[in-house]
C-alpha cells in the first residue's frame, strides 16, 4: 500500500511545530539554532513529498539549495554564537538584551 501525500504533510507539520515550540521555550542559543535546523528539515520533507507525488524535479532542486543555505547559516550562526560567548560568557538568549528597549 502506498502512503498518501497528506501523511507526509502531517509529519512535516508535526516536526515544524516541535521546532517552533523549541525556539519559543528553549533559552540556549545553540539549542534554538538546532530547532531552526529541525524546522528547515521539516519543510524539506514537504518539498520532497510534493516533488515525488507531482513527478517534478523542482521541489528536489529547491531542497538542494535549502541545504546549501542551511550550511552557510550554520557556519555564520555558530560564529556569531562564539563571538557573543566571548563577550558575555554565556549563550543564554535572555542575556542578549542589548538591542531591547
Amino acid at each position: 500500500m502506498d502512503i498518501p501525500l497528506p501523511y507526509y504533510l502531517c509529519l512535516s507539520a508535526a516536526l515544524f511545530v516541535v521546532g517552533v515550540a523549541g525556539v519559543l521555550t528553549r533559552r540556549n542559543a545553540i539549542v534554538v539554532f538546532m530547532c531552526i535546523e529541525l524546522m528547515l528539515n521539516s519543510v524539506n520533507l514537504a518539498l520532497i513529498a510534493f516533488s515525488s507525488f507531482l513527478g517534478s524535479i523542482t521541489g528536489q532542486a529547491l531542497v538542494f539549495f535549502a541545504m546549501a543555505v542551511a550550511a552557510a547559516e550554520a557556519a555564520v550562526g555558530l560564529a556569531i554564537v562564539i563571538a557573543i560567548y566571548r563577550n558575555k560568557q554565556t549563550v543564554d538568549i535572555d542575556a542578549m538584551n542589548i538591542l531591547k528597549w
Binding site: 500500500m1 502506498d2 502512503i3 498518501p4 501525500l5 497528506p6 501523511y7 507526509y8 502531517c10 509529519l11 507539520a13 508535526a14 516536526l15 511545530v17 516541535v18 521546532g19 517552533v20 515550540a21 523549541g22 519559543l24 521555550t25 528553549r26 533559552r27 540556549n28 545553540i30 539549542v31 539554532f33 538546532m34 530547532c35 535546523e37 528539515n41 524539506n44 520533507l45 520532497i48 516533488s51 515525488s52 507525488f53 507531482l54 513527478g55 517534478s56 524535479i57 528536489q60 532542486a61 531542497v63 538542494f64 539549495f65 541545504m67 543555505v69 542551511a70 550550511a71 550554520a74 557556519a75 555564520v76 555558530l78 560564529a79 556569531i80 562564539i82 563571538a83 560567548y85 549563550v91
Partner: protein, 168 residues
C-alpha cells in the same frame, strides 16, 4: 510493508524531535537531532529521492551537526537551569500552535474519505531523484541559482572567519 516502514520512521522522527526539545543538556539534544536526521533521510529514500537522502546524511549529520557539537564542546556548555521559562506568554503561544496543528490534522483526516489526488507516487518518481536527473536539473534549468549558491557559500566562509576571529 511500506506503510509499516513509514509509520515506524514517522514515530521515530517525532519522538526524537520532542526529546530534543525536552532535553536539558545541549549535547544530548544534538545527538537526538542527528537521530532525527537519519529518520528523515530514510523517509527521503521512501520518497525515491536517493541523492537528497545521501546529501542529508553527508551535509546535515556529517558537516552541520559536527560543527554544532564542536561548538558545544568548545564552549563547554552546562545544562540549562530550567527549560520552562517564567514568562507564561511563550508557553501560551506554544499551546496555541499545538492546538492549531491538531485541528489541521483533524481537518486533513476528515477529508480522507473523499478520493483525493496524491494517493500514489508519480509514475517517473523512481528516476526523478537520481544523481543523473538532479545533475541535469541543476546544470540546466537551475544553473544561475546553482552558481549564486557558490557565491553565498564564499560569503558565509568569509563572514564566519571575520566573526569568529579574535579582535586584535
Amino acid at each position: 510493508m511500506e506503510s509499516l516502514v513509514f509509520f515506524f520512521l514517522a514515530a521515530f522522527a517525532v519522538t526524537t524531535a520532542v526529546l530534543m526539545v525536552l532535553q536539558r543538556s545541549p549535547l544530548v539534544s544534538a545527538i537526538y537531532l542527528i537521530a532525527n536526521f537519519f529518520a528523515l533521510a530514510a523517509l527521503y529514500l521512501l520518497l525515491r529521492a536517493q541523492l537528497l537522502a545521501v546529501l542529508q546524511i553527508v551535509v546535515y549529520t556529517g558537516a552541520i551537526m559536527v560543527l554544532v557539537i564542536f561548538v558545544i564542546m568548545l564552549l563547554n556548555l552546562g545544562d540549562e537551569a530550567r527549560i520552562h521559562p517564567r514568562i507564561a506568554i511563550r508557553t501560551w503561544v506554544t499551546l496555541v500552535l499545538a492546538a492549531g496543528f491538531l485541528s489541521e490534522i483533524a481537518y486533513v483526516f476528515s477529508l480522507a474519505g473523499t478520493p483525493a489526488e496524491g494517493t500514489a507516487l508519480a509514475g517517473g518518481a523512481e528516476s526523478l531523484g537520481t544523481v543523473e536527473s538532479m545533475g541535469g536539473a541543476l546544470f540546466g534549468k537551475f544553473l544561475l541559482p546553482f552558481e549564486v549558491t557558490s557565491l553565498l557559500l564564499l560569503a558565509a566562509i568569509l563572514g564566519a572567519v571575520v566573526l569568529a576571529k579574535k579582535k586584535g
